[in-house]
Symmetry: C2
Subunit: 190 residues, 2 copies
Amino acid sequence: MKALKEKIVNEGKVLSEDVLQVDTFLNHQIDPYLMKQIGEEFAERFKDDGITKILTLESSGIAPSVMAGLSLDVPVIFARKRKSLTLIKDLYKAEIHSYTKKETSEIFISQEFITEDDTVLVIDDFIANGQAALGLIDMVFQSRAKLAGFGIVIEKGFQKGGDQIRELGIKVESLAIVDALKNGEVTFRE
Amino acid sequence: MKALKEKIVNEGKVLSEDVLQVDTFLNHQIDPYLMKQIGEEFAERFKDDGITKILTLESSGIAPSVMAGLSLDVPVIFARKRKSLTLIKDLYKAEIHSYTKKETSEIFISQEFITEDDTVLVIDDFIANGQAALGLIDMVFQSRAKLAGFGIVIEKGFQKGGDQIRELGIKVESLAIVDALKNGEVTFRE
């Protein structure tokens, strides 16, 4: 997706060979117009898949997912990293291990919002080792809903997550695939 | 805002005299079309205030804020409840005490995204005792930006937060003000 790649080149900061900071438009400050374009692009790529729900993970997945939900005319559910006052029982849970933070945490969704009648598009901001993605997919399987596929804003193509999910036979659509972060520069996959 | 109040009446769950659960369209599952309407309503109410940035708090503030940002054509910054891998230094911080969770926590934003040249609209999903709101406002003051006002999706009018902020001379626009949660029913302020 051209507008996204341009934004990454112009505003992304390569902090190390593993870490791309996109805090000016996705992970801290959000560019609403770019999010709208991203939402429309996901909608276009999944328009024939009969999507009834979008599932994402708080917090950075919410903006692109809500815009995709608007384009596809379906609700968005965001999995929570912490239980809330009103999110207590009848939950699907999954464990996520973060290699960067070196910790394992749980994520939750209420069972009432995804059922076996749903066809779910999972969306997230980044995929690297794929741990968050596998947690989200696991919850879709628990619900017995149909998994239509996985939409990713930025895939770190030099880490295994995206390909691991493709190998499961799941449709994966990444709007930008970064193949390397070297010498402060971003190299995209063609 | 009529569409919002109808949604609260039809889908909100009164869990106690203090707690209104709106997990079907705002706090867990999100209704993207309603969020678009909410964003447009905030934009209408603040269109003459010269807004340059919207500040909100993860996670439930993000969806309405991004839609308001789209309508007002300005970026959105979401304050984080936890430091991230790339959010480390040059931060504004504020402490928030949660009466419901009985805990005090810190929230953060990067100093680079709000400066003294900005005019900031703060948006959040709920206001009750106003602790989160005061934390967000405190960060705007730290940045020396101009505070244009506070946009709230649902105000608990029977708690002091909203009026406390009005008494500071700050413009507060709540799209629905709930005056009571009794016998399982929601009473709105006229």
